[in-house]
């Protein structure tokens, strides 16, 4: 049931993106739609794998987090580059941190076991970059129109998802974790993330008008 709800949020977000971003040009818009397609495909593939074979689908998510880290790093780079000259460094460090932890986990455990340490590390790094974005936005002498600034809501979603998921990621490190409550936590986090992103697509569409 929990997996079904997550798929619903993701599909709604994808539909919102396709509907509202169809007239918004740019490489990030293209990556967003492609990424959301990957998200939905991964979620459906993971569900099918578990129901058909009855074994862990972690390897699917281990592949997925590469796309996730790349997309979020790029999105944060796009958001930060208008505010600081060090945007490339900030986002490179986060992505390098991901690659190092990912490599370490691949070499230290089976590929079929979920790379939870990698997720914890990039969550912290992404939260830091989001925080930097808000700090620079506050320091900036210009104001933004929140109703038309999709980028702000996109970063807000990322920040709430990764920072809010800290407890989730910490418990995921345990060998035996409370599965049900963590599933509900993930539903809440997904609702927040895709809710914010959907609103950001609507804002982008308003900005275009």
């Amino acid at each position: 049931m929990t997996s079904d709800l997550n798929i619903v949020f993701e599909i709604v977000c994808l539909a919102t993106a396709v509907l509202f971003l169809r007239n918004v040009s740019g490489i990030f818009t293209f990556f967003t739609i492609v990424y959301l397609l990957i998200v939905c495909s991964t979620e459906i593939a993971g569900g099918i794998w578990t129901s058909r074979f009855g074994t862990s689908n972690s390897w699917i998510y281990n592949i997925f987090i590469i796309y996730e880290a790349a997309y979020i790093s790029f999105g944060l780079y796009v958001a930060l580059k208008g505010l600081t000259k060090r945007a490339y460094q900030y986002c490179s460090i986060a992505f390098m941190g991901f690659l190092v932890t990912y490599g370490y986990e691949l070499s230290s455990q089976s590929f079929f076991k979920f790379n939870s340490k990698t997720v914890l590390v990039f969550s912290i790094l992404f939260s830091f970059n989001c925080f930097t974005y808000f700090y620079l936005l506050i320091k900036d002498k210009n104001t933004i129109n929140l109703k038309q600034n999709g980028q702000f809501w996109w970063v807000a979603g990322v920040y709430a998802y990764y920072f809010g998921g800290t407890i989730y990621n910490l418990f995921l490190q345990q060998s035996s974790y409370p599965y049900i409550i963590l599933s509900y936590t993930m539903i809440l986090l997904n609702l927040i993330l895709y809710g914010f992103w959907s609103y950001s697509f609507i804002c982008n569409s308003r900005q275009q008008k």
Binding site: T143, A156, G164, Y168, F171, P178, L182, T185, L188
Partner: protein, 263 residues
């Protein structure tokens, strides 16, 4: 330390709630901060528009006053001189050759005086042009004009001539203030000695003028609010964030100190 499953659930729920509250708190604060910043920017824009509008209004007032001065000069001085010239020329009787030369010379003197007055007016009208060459030089020209009248003993200290700074919005207002003060001295003070001291110090322009005229009752003049009076001078100085101090003692003289942030 072992936790029961209930304790773990409570821990996850409370922990996640706390970690979600932080972004929520940040977003609310950012929204509020952004709103205040927007209000501050709009307030600043309003003030700028108000300032520009006041400045424009003052410039129009100054132009209006200049036109009045020109009209008054044309009527009272040049008009009178030319009327007198016409009268003199009309009174020439060709049958009286011994008085002819005298009358022609008188007419010529009157025409020369008219030309002199016209030049003075032309300079007054070209204040904007004069300011473009620098406020120091514009003040010098104004004081030279006063010197040429020959009615006053002047002591001038103008440190602005060699300074290469300007403030286009303020320069014309400062020059018009000086012209207004000089005109008032000429018309009302009956002074014989005038001191001018112009200099910049700590990013402020100081303009001090002192005469030995008959002085006046400041409060009484301010109450009248007539024409381009003291109130207008106070208003113009305040518009460019300056300060003006006038001290006047009847039968002793007047001193005016103006201090304006500059450039």
């Amino acid at each position: 330390m072992q936790f029961s499953s209930t304790e773990i659930i409570v821990l996850v729920v409370i922990g996640t709630a706390i970690f979600l509250l932080a972004p929520l708190f940040l977003l609310i604060n950012f929204k509020e901060y952004n709103r205040r910043k927007q209000e501050a920017i709009e307030e600043q824009k309003d003030l700028q528009i108000k300032f520009e509008s006041e400045l424009l209004k003052t410039q129009i007032e100054v132009q209006e006053q200049t036109m009045q001065t020109i009209a008054s000069d044309l009527h009272d001085n040049i008009g009178q001189l030319l009327s007198l010239t016409a009268l003199t020329l009309n009174s020439i009787n060709l049958n009286e050759p011994q008085r002819l030369e005298k009358k022609v010379t008188e007419s010529l003197n009157l025409v020369n005086s008219s030309i002199k007055e016209l030049r003075g007016l032309a300079k007054l009208m070209h204040g904007e042009f004069i300011v473009q060459t620098g406020l120091g030089k514009a003040i010098k020209q104004e004081l030279d004009r006063l010197k040429k009248l020959g009615n006053y003993k002047l002591k001038v200290k103008n440190e602005l001539i060699n300074i290469d700074i300007s403030s286009p919005n303020k320069d014309l207002i400062i020059l018009r203030l000086l012209q207004e003060i000089i005109n008032n001295i000429i018309k009302h003070s009956q002074a014989t000695y005038i001191e001018f001291n112009v200099y910049t110090l700590d990013e402020k322009l100081h303009l001090n003028i002192k005469d030995n005229g008959i002085g006046f009752d400041i409060e009484n003049i301010q109450m009248k609010k007539s024409g381009m009076g003291l109130n207008s001078m106070f208003k113009r100085v305040a518009l460019i964030n300056g300060e003006i101090v006038i001290n006047s003692t009847p039968l002793t003289g007047t001193s005016i100190s103006i201090e304006i942030p500059y450039p």
